[in-house]
């Protein structure tokens, strides 16, 4: 069947196409139908018959997330947890995108602030994953990291994962995406996927582009947003892609013979391109494009391989680095990590000034804080410029509004990651993976709420933003200058709250709406020792079925894995020792204390104690054990019916 026929007959069956809204696709009428296998000449020996393989399936979901990098994983998991039947599509065989074993970009976050807090780690889903990685992958193996991600995704309820599947086209109706046309390379199958909401977290955003969502590439000129670091005039340059590597020490001098395609490295003109990182690659072996970085991906990849081996040849064979005599390449990526391509336009374009002035947005849903780390146009082919300008560092986290996470002209399209609605200059900071993951959690949560309420993301932003923000805060996201005020939370209505002891902070801070210590203000309660108790009391009995706690994972310390474990060898190992390991809860039912929930071997900062509904006049939360720290410490307690 030809694609043209599919659109006429496909899901609409016998109804005439003229009676329906016009469905459009960018696939031309003459394009071959990928699922058409009528020409197959297949003798199936098992059945003894000739047959035609079925290579087309149709599926329906509430939310489809395209791209399973850290933003996409965060979007899909949060959508699923918030009740949406969710599909996560990934065009690679592994999860993680730039962070996967295929590319090995470090999951950096807000970690070089020039203020009282230097590290202000992201919480929520990305933090859950990083802690799990420390628990399941203490060896810091990248292939195992892929599978930590895999386990994290496949065990979520409401979530379907499809690997090796790319969304290659969009079927639209008016300003809405109706279906995604997807190709699964391993099963030679076309999937036609219908959904109410689409969240494009694929970085390049092919589906969003083909749906007609407005996007930009290149650099804005100074005038547009008054960005001091922008070029005078707009141009087409984007930050480039980089190929990573990992080396190892052989214990004896080992030669290196460069491959035929190696490109000579001109070290004399290299301008601040330090070649000391023998063990983890050179982030400045980078190539972008002045016009269309996606179109030149393959030629750039080939050149990057040449440049990477060229630099290595220089290190090994120039005679200037005798310390590298025993070092050999152990792994070299075949897919460069990507910094920038399409930026889709939302109802707001975040720019340099918003970041520098720490602008407060009423619809903030995430934060960033990596420096304005804009890489030079041309990368390694522009040696006269430094590899990055490192324009400016931030003192505190800046806010990212929800209006950057949905399309201005496609009404059911959201996005998260490096393809969101920011200027090129703002992207030089927001592109960092931890920040992208937070945007993912916001976009995924928003998509689930939109699906549930049958509204557009724009409507959610204008009329129901508090619902989205409160859900994110409940799910352990931090939004600067936006304390939680959830009226459904019984902890806020308790008549008495007291702890067994206090060594710092105050139990009152556990329901002040802030679930972390900010640079200038504490928001915690720390007991003297473990075996601590926290009691909440209400005047009248209330029906409870869930208690949420936010424990301490030391957000001012880094916990991400690194290509070069040497860099992390002095980090505190394993699960953050401050985190509570064992927690239980008693409810006072008819005057008697009864145990209602227990969590053991806890790995998450957001500790969920769920139980069948009970009528209680008080709860007593017992903080029995940590992962090593001497005191029990909390940032928040919530109670829900």
């Amino acid at each position: 069947m030809k694609r043209r026929d599919f659109f006429k007959k496909g899901t609409q069956g016998a109804i005439g196409v003229s009676m329906l809204p016009v469905l459009t696709s960018s696939v031309s009428a003459s394009a071959p139908d990928m699922a058409d296998r009528s020409a197959d000449n297949w003798q199936q020996l098992g059945s003894g018959k000739k047959g035609i393989p079925t290579r087309k399936k149709e599926l329906t979901f509430d939310v489809v997330v395209i791209g399973a990098g850290m933003a996409g994983i965060s979007a899909a998991v949060s959508a699923a947890r918030n009740g949406a039947n969710t599909l996560l599509l990934q065009d690679r065989p592994v999860l993680g995108g730039n962070a996967s074993s295929e590319m090995r970009v470090t999951v950096n976050g807000v970690q070089s602030l020039n203020g009282k807090h230097t590290v202000e780690r992201e919480t929520g889903i990305v933090e859950e994953i990083l802690i799990e990685n420390r628990y399941y992958n203490p060896q810091e193996s990248y292939p195992i990291w892929d599978h930590v991600l895999y386990d994290y995704v496949v065990r979520q309820k409401n979530l379907t994962l499809m690997l090796n599947t790319q969304a290659i086209d969009a079927v639209t109706s008016g300003n809405k995406i109706v279906k995604a046309i997807c190709w699964q390379s391993t099963s030679e199958t076309e999937f036609v996927i219908k959904s109410a909401l689409f969240v494009d977290c694929s970085g390049d955003g092919l589906l969003a582009a083909k749906a007609g969502a407005e996007y930009r590439t290149g650099r804005e000129g100074k005038a547009e947003f008054g960005e001091s670091f922008a070029p005078e005039k707009p141009d087409g340059w984007v930050m480039g892609d980089t190929l990573m590597m990992i080396s190892k020490d052989m214990g004896e001098p080992t030669p290196f013979y460069p491959p035929s395609y190696a490109l000579k490295f001109d070290a004399e003109k290299a301008n601040d391109r330090a070649v000391k990182q023998f063990k983890e690659g050179f982030w400045w072996v980078e190539l972008g494009s002045e016009f269309d970085v996606i179109a030149v991906r393959e030629s750039n990849r080939h050149k990057l391989m040449g440049y990477m081996y060229g630099v290595w040849d220089y290190i090994k064979n120039s005679g200037k680095y005798p310390e590298a005599a025993n070092t050999v390449l152990d792994w070299v990526g075949s897919i460069p990590g990507r910094r920038e391509s399409r930026r889709f336009m939302g109802d707001y374009i975040l720019s340099q000034k918003d970041l520098e002035e720490y602008r407060h947005f009423p619809d903030s849903v995430a934060f960033g804080g990596w420096s304005l780390d804009e890489h030079c146009p041309g990368g390694i082919e522009n040696l006269s410029d430094p590899p990055s300008y490192f324009h400016a560092r931030f003192k505190q986290p800046y806010e990212i509004p929800f209006r950057c996470l949905y399309s201005k002209n496609i009404s059911n399209l959201l996005f998260a990651g490096r393809n969101v609605s920011v200027s090129h200059m703002a992207l030089s900071s927001t592109r960092i993976i931890g920040t992208c993951a937070m945007m993912g959690q916001a976009a995924g949560t928003a998509a689930a709420i939109c699906a549930r309420k049958n509204i557009s993301p724009r409507k959610l932003g204008t009329d129901f933003i508090a619902i989205l923000q409160e859900q994110l805060l409940r799910d352990d996201v931090y939004i600067p200058n936006r304390p939680a005020a959830d009226s459904a939370d019984w902890a806020r209505k308790a008549s008495a709250v007291f702890g067994s002891s206090t060594i710092s902070g105050d139990v009152k801070l556990l329901y002040d709406g802030y679930s972390r210590d900010e640079a200038e203000t504490i928001h915690h309660w720390e007991a003297d020792g473990v075996n601590a108790e926290l009691q909440l009391e209400w005047e009248k009995p209330i029906a409870l079925s869930q208690i949420l706690l936010k424990g301490d994972t030391n957000l001012q310390r880094q916990i991400m894995m690194h290509k070069n474990p040497e860099k992390n060898k002095n980090q505190v190992k394993g699960v953050p020792p401050e985190l509570l390991k064992k927690v239980s809860c008693e409810g006072r039912i008819n005057g008697k204390w009864v145990e209602i929930a227990t969590v053991d071997n806890n790995l998450t900062r957001l500790i969920k104690l769920s139980f069948d509904t009970v009528n209680v006049t008080a709860v007593r939360i017992k903080l029995t054990e940590t992962w090593g720290y001497k005191n029990a410490k909390l940032f928040e307690v919530r109670c829900y019916s």
Binding site: S112, D272, E280, S500
Partner: protein, 376 residues
């Protein structure tokens, strides 16, 4: 009362003595020098393996340690970037850092090979004297990253951590980190342990009367080790338990005492202490294996009716529940609580439900139940 700082002349003299006497024991007119061997982990190393160090103690003629010092190295060579310089650190008898000293014309250097300026040396003294420096909570791994000269980039993962400029000297972060942790780390415990073993009970109790908070805490800890529990000492400890921190330390002291001393202290605090002090005592009592008699608990229960806060009432009644002490005296002390605000009244009601009550008391309880159905 206690000489905290020796004169520079004296310190140098002691130093000479050490060299002359080969690290055993030195003697001057008024001061004796003692050597203490310690196994310590180096703060700039991740691995917890230990090295043997010698801590020198200067002891005055009254038998009281006046000062301690130890030689450490300023930094460990990492990737052959840093320089190693011996530094002598001085502490007072409480283990608080006093000063550092470079000997034999040693000089400190920064990462780029530039020597410390005189301002850098002054700043180092300030940094090391700050007990609450941000360096306290930093892991050595963070510092090593700080020392990196590589750029910052997402795709490389190379990171540069910024520390408050007041906490470090630019180019010498690792030196500041290492020396701060030597000056303010576990050495304090070791020094207090040595000082505590030397001081007499009388010298320790003197701290309780006139010392600073740190000195009082130290004295109580040491009196426990000395097993000093005569009435006079116990009374002074009880008087000293004026803050929450001191009350906790005091409780630790009394928990090791004979039962009657412990019970007496708790009863006195329950009668006269602040809520915070009483809370600590009641929790100690609830968790203690020491057996309180019903008579003792009944006397304690006299305090219940005068409690103002719900938490205090709850604590007392939890204690009586836990000790299974539901006597007529406790009931009598609890019944009036039924007329108080609902949280307190309800708590009393639930306690009384499990007690043997007179008819009148039972009627009173029934009445409460009828009137407060919605709250139960």
């Amino acid at each position: 009362m206690i000489k905290k700082v020796l004169s520079l002349f004296f310190a140098l003299f002691i130093g000479l003595l050490f060299q002359n006497f080969g690290g055993t024991v030195g003697v001057s007119d008024n001061v004796k020098l003692f050597a203490h061997t310690l196994s310590l982990s180096d703060p700039a190393k991740y691995r917890p393996d230990t090295t043997v160090y010698t801590l020198y103690e200067a002891r005055g003629e009254n038998g009281v340690p006046t000062e301690y010092y130890m030689d450490v190295v300023s930094v460990y060579c990492l990737d052959e970037v840093c320089k190693v310089v011996p530094v002598r650190l001085y502490w007072n008898m409480m283990g608080d850092f006093v000063k550092y000293e470079l000997r034999n014309n040693n000089k400190l250097e920064k990462a780029d090979g530039k020597p410390f300026s005189s301002k850098d040396y002054e700043k180092l003294q300030t940094i090391l004297s700050d007990k609450n420096s941000p360096l306290r909570d930093m892991a050595i791994g963070d510092i090593l990253k700080t020392s990196s000269t590589e750029g910052v980039d997402a795709i490389s993962g190379a990171t540069t951590l910024v520390i408050d400029g007041k906490a470090t000297i630019k180019g010498a972060t690792l030196t500041c980190y290492t020396l701060w942790h030597w000056a303010n780390g576990l050495i304090k415990q070791h020094i207090q342990s040595v000082t505590g073993s030397i001081l007499t009970t009388n010298q320790l109790t003197a701290f309780l009367e006139t010392g600073e908070l740190d000195e009082k805490l130290f004295a109580i800890k040491q009196l426990k080790i000395h097993k000093a529990y005569d009435a006079k000492v116990a009374g002074l400890v009880l008087q000293a338990m004026a803050t929450e921190e001191l009350a906790k330390e005091g409780l630790n002291y009394f928990e090791q005492s004979a039962d009657e001393v412990y019970f007496d202290a708790i009863a006195k605090i329950a009668a006269n202490g602040t809520d915070e002090q009483v809370k600590i005592c009641l929790r100690s009592l609830a968790g203690s294996t020491k057996k309180a008699t019903p008579a003792y608990l009944n006397r304690l229960a006299l305090q219940i009716a005068r409690q103002q806060s719900y938490q205090m009432v709850d604590l007392y009644l939890e204690l009586m529940d836990k000790k299974d002490n539901r006597t007529a005296e406790v009931v009598a002390g609890t019944m009036p609580l039924l007329d108080r605000e609902i949280l307190i009244a309800r708590r009393a009601y639930w306690f009384l439900q499990h007690c043997d009550l007179s008819k009148a008391q039972q009627q009173q309880l029934k009445k409460f139940e009828r009137e407060n159905k919605d709250y139960l």
